[in-house]
Symmetry: C2
Subunit: 226 residues, 2 copies
Amino acid sequence: MTDATPVTISAFDWVPEFARGRVRDLIVRWALEELGRPYRTVLLDARQPRGPDYLAWQPFDQVPAYREGEVELFEAGAILVHLAEGDERLMPRDPAARAKVLSWTIGALNSFEPPVRQYSLLAVFQRDQPWCEDARDAFRPLAEKRMQRLADALGDAEWIAGRFSIADIVLVFLLESVAEEELVARFPTLVAYRARGTARPAYQRALQAQLDDFTDEAARGPTEGA
Amino acid sequence: MTDATPVTISAFDWVPEFARGRVRDLIVRWALEELGRPYRTVLLDARQPRGPDYLAWQPFDQVPAYREGEVELFEAGAILVHLAEGDERLMPRDPAARAKVLSWTIGALNSFEPPVRQYSLLAVFQRDQPWCEDARDAFRPLAEKRMQRLADALGDAEWIAGRFSIADIVLVFLLESVAEEELVARFPTLVAYRARGTARPAYQRALQAQLDDFTDEAARGPTEGA
C-alpha cells in the first residue's frame, strides 16, 4: 500500500442532535485530515439493522470501519494505530517516544474512557430511573479520579506524550464527548488542552465533514436513537 | 533493544481471593511466556498509596507497567501491541492479517470489555445497593449483545483472527475474568474458546507466576480491597 491507496470509512447518515460531533468516525476523520489523506465514506442508516456484510467488516455493528486496499480494520483505536505506524506526524519512530504514545492511546480507551463514560451517560440514558442519582453517586468517584490523573499527567504540557500524536486525538475526542461538561470544567488544564485540540484545522475539517454527512434532521421521521 | 534486554513488569503483592488470576499483569505475563521471554516483577503493596515515582511510570496507578531498557509502557493492551510488533508468534506481519489482530485486540478492550465489565461488576461492588438489580436489568442487554457478537464472529474457528495472537490473549483473559460465569456459560463456543486459551502452557505458567507472587493471605490483615 501507498498513500495513494483509496481509503473508505463507515459513518452514520443520521444521529440525534446530542450525538453529532461525538460519533467515533470523527476520530478517524481527524487523523486522516492531519495526514492530508483523502477518504470516502460509506453511510449507514442508523435506524435499519445492518446485515451480515457489515458485521463481517465491523463485528460489533458500530462505526467506524476502515478499508484501504486489502487492509480492513474496525475500532477507531486500531485504525489510529494503523495510520500512525507509517507516519511520524501521528506517532514518533523513536522507540521510547512511540511507547509513550501507544500507552496513552490505549490507556485513554481502556482506563480513562470506560469509567468516565459509564458515569456521564447515566444522566443521558438512565435519567428517568429512580436509581439514577444513587448510581451516579456510586460511579462518580472513579470517573473523577481518572480525570484527575489525566490532569496531573498532562500538567503544563501542550500534548500528552511529547509532540501532538494519536493519543491527543483520542483524549481530546473523549473530553469533547463527555456528556457532562461539569466533569471536565473542574480541570482548567484539561479544558485548555481540549480547546487546543479542537482548534486544529484538521479537527475542524473532520467535524464539518461528519456534520455534512448527516441528512437534514427535519427530513427524517422520529427515531429510536442511534 | 534485543530479546536480551531485561524486562520488568509491575504487579501486586496481594489481592483478595476473588481477584487472583484476574489481575491484568497476567495478560503481559502470558504474552511473555508465549515468547519464552524472561522477566522480573516489581511487586507493589496494593494497600499502600503509590508515590509519584510509580505514577510517572503508570499514570492511572494500576498494574501492569512495563520496562525494557529505555522503553517504558503502561496499559496491558499497549504492552501487548509492543511485544507483538516484533514477533509473528503474537501477530502476523502480513498487513491484512495484522490489521485483523489489531482490530480485535483494541475492540476487545474498548467495545467488548466495558459493557461486560460494567454489568458483571455490579453484582460484586454494588450488590448491597437497593438499586443493584434494576441497574443490572438496564445494563445486561448490551453486555449480552457484545457476548453474542463475539460468539458469532468466532463461529467454529479456533482463534479469533486466524492463528493464535494477542487478540486471543486479551479475549480469553477477559472471558476468564467475567465476574458472572452465567454470562459466558450461555455461549458454548466461547466456553470452549476460553478453555483452549487457558490450556496453553504459557497461560498456565503465567497464572502460576501471578499466584506465586501473592503473599500468603493468612499472613495479612484485613484489607479494603485492591
